[in-house]
């Protein structure tokens, strides 16, 4: 690490240490403060009247009886509130992208079952639900568009009149010259068609908000569970017709988000509008039924992909068609383009693909809308790529790991056919290590033995990289009209020598209060107990993009380090004046500025005393106070974490159960600020990936009514389904983040479905059946095992 020379002997390197989490004591003792824990005087509770049908004209909405229900204080429809729509845009021609508005409350038309039509406000949630039941809504049904086939059928009913063919985004990219010839002449062409199930990111804490008007500040306070506080502020201000300064978004403790909370929800705006109208605080906490059926969903995609290989197993070309079912609305700020654009831009992944063509579409259907969910298309396209390589290996008689080795990127930086430049990683090393672990543990032998006994054990891998630290350049390439990227950090030391650090990122379980503090503590030579991280308050934080796309440590952490470094320079400048030596003779550490030449030291408290309380002693040209600000952005293609996952599964013939016998992950996220936190992110991500591969699916009936309305139908796996995961770390430091760290929030989720699918299909090899759709249910396994080659 570059700071080592600046750290006096005996100082503790916080970066790289599995420091216990600053968040833990309050969360463990029941002293966390989540949104629903907030109670304000006079607070009312909101529930929403929601559409009971998937697609209809609303011919009547009568809230008279609602308002008479005991305990109900008010009920508002769209007409009552008159709010502007939420509209997400891309800077693309209408031939490529059609912007569509999402009304805060539905007006003349409903587009999915569960869409909010009116907000009911009552003295408690019980009375609010009584009120919702009393609403009278009349509909004139329209034919529901529930599947891709229905959406794209000629003459299909339109979810949005302005989006012909129910298509919100349609882009064709790359189209390497001569690619058709490549496929015509290739000795081996394999094809994979995959459909992945619709999922729910499923933070255990559902979405929620407490909205209140602060008369003294003349400001609407939205205490809301969001990954993107400033984007909520912007949207709320626009919808409500307020100046942005008149909206303050404060984020309490968050019980997860995983992407579902990185978009702006209409309910938090409606609750704010109700609070404004009533002059009383209004709380809305989504219940689980609504969270499962009417929240932001994810993942439903269809891939139809061919890959051409030469006889030695080198990939020659990739030709992909991708359709993402984004549901009823485009989410703000990312738009319905987020998934197809991610998939098409990054699909070649860790492999040297010389020719590439892709058409990617986002379609709209009468299902709850989608938001980016941990991994965003990468779990799916990695699954497709890894299936293609496995299939080509079979056709060419190669070991599945060998064909990957022949194609993995090994020279860095590497600029791919997709115009993305990959920074150094350990693609080959991670595969080799993962394979050797499984071999040394005897799993290949166990598989042979099991096969001889008529059992079905399979081994599967996935190799992938995860672009993290998307800066403004990368998002601008997607042509987002709202371009995320930078992060700003401000550090402030008080007279006691304690440090407050602001970040524009928004931890919702990722331990930023600890890891960002580690970075600041290292840079300034402070004990971590002296560092406090501030996040999630639009009045305290200059501006922030929040936390998504594994950006926080790479970008936010870099900003924290830069700002801390600037504060360090100021401490040294003041100390130089006190000690009467040149600044370059001084160094920071252990809460002191030290002059190694003569051993003299000045504690930070003493310097702070001068900076604030005895400013007449400050050197000339030094401003009072101890603050510094820095921003950081990534102006290249970002930094790529990578990993190989190796999975051993057994398929149980009599039940179809897929049992995961072994799970090994070799990951490389550059410098791990806190290895235990990295492992936590990885294990948790893998659990979500397994959930998508084997268990979870949001389903609908033919009329578009959701059929997974509880945890009985939406099967979140438990400790009995999720295996132990053994993690091995490699470390290829990032050359351009300030700490050498890369992001690690999504990798587990990205790699798991592919590895599980490959292991299942390896076990199915003797049957000749391949399973390429997720989730793989026990019944599909039973059916597959009934086939024999």
């Amino acid at each position: 690490m570059t700071t080592e020379s600046a750290r006096p002997d005996g100082d503790r390197p916080w970066i790289g240490a599995s420091v216990g989490r600053r968040e833990d004591p309050r969360l463990l003792s029941g002293n966390g403060r989540f949104t629903d824990d907030i109670a304000l005087p006079g607070m009312l509770h909101a529930r929403f009247v929601r559409s009971t049908v998937a697609h209809a004209e609303v011919t009547g909405l009568d809230l008279t009886a609602v308002r008479e229900v005991p305990g109900v204080v008010a009920a508002f429809s769209a007409d009552d509130l008159g709010l502007a729509d939420i509209t997400a845009r891309l800077g693309r021609p209408v031939s490529e992208f059609v912007p569509t508005g999402m009304p805060v409350l539905a007006r003349e038309k409903v587009r999915y079952a569960g869409e909010p039509l009116a907000v009911v406000v009552a003295r408690d949630a019980y009375a609010a639900e009584d009120g919702v039941e009393a609403a009278k809504v009349s509909y004139e049904s329209l034919p529901p568009v529930v599947s891709e086939e229905q959406a794209l059928a000629p003459g299909a009913p339109l979810v949005h009149g302005e989006a012909g063919g129910n298509t919100l985004l349609d882009v064709s990219m790359f189209a390497t010259e001569g690619i058709d010839g490549t496929f015509d002449e290739a000795p081996c062409v394999v094809h994979v068609e995959t459909r992945t199930g619709r999922q729910n990111a499923l933070p255990l804490e559902t979405r929620g908000v407490v909205a209140s008007w602060d008369h003294r500040e003349e400001q609407l306070l939205l205490q809301t569970s969001t990954q993107v506080p400033h984007q909520v502020r912007t949207t709320a201000a626009r919808c409500l017709g307020l100046d942005e300064r008149a909206v303050r978004v404060v984020v309490p403790d968050m019980g997860g988000g995983f992407g579902q909370k990185c978009v702006v929800g209409r309910e938090e705006i409606a609750a704010g509008a109700a609070a404004l109208r009533l002059g009383r605080p209004v709380k809305w906490v989504e219940d689980r039924k609504d969270a499962l059926t009417a929240s932001f969903l994810a993942r439903e995609q269809h891939y139809d992909v061919r890959a051409a290989f030469d006889a030695d197993g080198h990939i020659l070309g990739l030709d992909a068609a991708i359709v993402c079912d984004m549901g009823a609305y485009s989410c703000y700020p990312f738009t319905a383009g987020i998934e197809p654009l991610m998939a098409s831009a990054e699909m070649p992944g860790v492999y040297k693909v010389p020719a590439y063509r892709v058409r990617a579409r986002a379609i709209t259907t009468n299902k709850a809308p989608t938001a980016p969910y941990r991994g965003v298309s990468r779990p799916q396209y990695v699954m497709v790529m890894e299936r293609l390589f496995e299939r080509a290996a079979r056709e060419l008689g190669l070991e599945p790991t060998e064909i990957r080795r022949r194609n993995l990127i090994t020279q860095f930086p590497y600029t791919g056919v997709n115009n993305v430049t990959y920074d150094p990683g350990s693609y080959l090393e991670s595969l080799n290590l993962c394979e050797s672990v499984l071999k040394e543990e005897g799993w290949y032998a166990a598989k042979e033995k099991a096969s001889a006994e008529g059992r079905h054990i399979g081994i599967g891998y996935s190799c992938f990289s995860e672009r993290t630290g998307y800066g403004s350049t990368a998002f601008a390439q997607r042509k987002m009209e709202v371009v995320p990227g930078f992060d700003i950090s401000e550090v402030r030391m008080d007279t006691s020598g304690a440090l407050v650090v602001t970040t524009g990122t928004m931890s919702h379980g990722q331990s930023h209060e600890t890891t960002l503090a580690q970075i600041a503590a290292d840079e300034l030579g402070l004990d971590i107990g002296k560092v406090r991280i501030h996040q999630g308050d639009t009045d305290r934080i200059t501006y922030g993009w929040g936390t998504f796309a594994s950006r926080s440590i790479a970008i936010g952490g870099s900003a924290v380090r830069l700002a801390s470094g600037r504060l360090g320079e100021k401490l040294i400048a003041i100390a130089a004046s006190v000690l009467e030596v040149p600044p370059e003779d001084l160094e920071l550490g252990q809460g002191l500025v030290r002059c190694p030449a003569d051993g003299r030291t000045v504690p930070y408290e003493e310097l702070a005393d001068i900076a604030y309380l005895k400013s007449h002693l400050l050197p000339k040209d030094t401003e009072p106070g101890l603050t510094a600000t820095a921003s950081f952005d990534v102006l290249n293609d970002g930094t790529f974490s990578n990993a190989t996952h190796g999975v051993v599964t057994e398929l149980h013939e009599g039940t179809g159960q897929v049992e995961i016998l072994r799970y090994v992950c070799v990951e490389d996220c550059g410098v791990a600020i806190n290895p235990k936190v990295v492992e936590g992110q990885t294990r948790g991500g893998i659990a979500q990936g397994i959930a998508g591969a084997l268990f979870e699916q949001v389903t609908y009936d033919e009329q578009g009514a959701p059929s997974a309305v509880s945890f009985m139908e939406y099967k979140v796996p438990t400790a009995l389904e999720i295996p132990e995961v053994s993690i091995h770390h490699l470390e290829t430091p990032c050359a351009f983040t300030e700490t050498g760290a890369k992001g690690v929030g999504e990798g587990g989720t990205i790699g798991a479905p592919a590895a599980v699918l490959n292991a299942v299909n390896d076990a199915l090899l003797p049957t000749g059946v391949e399973l390429d759709d997720t989730p793989i249910t026990p019944e599909t396994v039973v059916s597959a095992l009934e086939h024999t080659r």
Partner: protein, 213 residues
């Protein structure tokens, strides 16, 4: 009140007396309020969380006469005359108990939303089955949902805490400290470290993983 909606007229309230964490609370409430809503919103004990309101996620798990139960699947009235314990009862002032410390040491929590439910589940279970094996612990951990951790570190934290409690009990029974325990159980001396809120925890080993480079 309206004539055509009799269900909305039934708003009688009843006087309840609840024994929570050793303290008696009297309150006037609608019978339909669930125990978890009364704990959280009437008694303001917000450490117990709500995750599904149909008994599957377990975020609302509390102890009722020592046994773990779903506070969303009970009306508060049903808890009268019983001893209720919530997560707020575990720490001694600012000093976390051994189970809470084990969760922190093993990184058994991330967002922390499900954590109180897992803590109370484990407290109830270990009180009844102090000798539980890791596999039994895993089966009980499967009672609740966690979306962040992948469960492994929760199982390890509870298993570690159980082992330390057994070792401590053995030490007390033998009247001598720390001998003849298995290597894991002999770590008992670490259990009494205090973790005050806001203080940094000590660095702890990374468990079963290796650093290869």
């Amino acid at each position: 009140m309206t004539d055509n909606a009799p269900e909305h007229t039934a708003q009688q309230r009843q006087l309840l007396s609840l024994d929570v964490n050793g303290e008696t609370h009297e309150l006037l409430t609608e019978p339909r309020r669930t125990l978890v809503d009364v704990l959280r919103h009437d008694l303001r004990l917000t450490g117990t969380h709500v995750g599904c309101e149909h008994g599957i996620c377990g975020a609302c798990t509390v102890l009722l006469d020592g046994a773990p139960v779903r506070a969303c699947l009970m009306f508060a009235a049903q808890a009268e005359g019983k001893e209720i314990r919530t997560v707020e009862s575990l720490a001694d002032g600012t000093r976390l108990n051994d189970l809470q410390q084990a969760f922190s040491e093993h990184h058994g929590l991330q967002c922390g939303f499900c954590t109180p439910g897992f803590l109370m589940l484990a407290e109830g279970f270990l009180a009844e089955r102090p000798e539980a094996s890791k596999e039994e612990i895993r089966e009980v951990v499967a009672s609740n949902l966690c979306r962040c951790t992948g469960y492994q570190t929760i199982v390890e934290a509870i298993d570690d805490c159980a082992a330390r409690r057994r070792a401590a009990l053995r030490s007390r029974l033998e009247g001598t400290a720390h001998h003849n325990g298995d290597s894991r159980d002999s770590e008992d001396e670490n259990t009494s470290e205090t973790v005050p809120p806001g203080a940094a925890c000590e660095e702890v080993p990374c468990g079963s993983t290796t650093r290869s480079r």
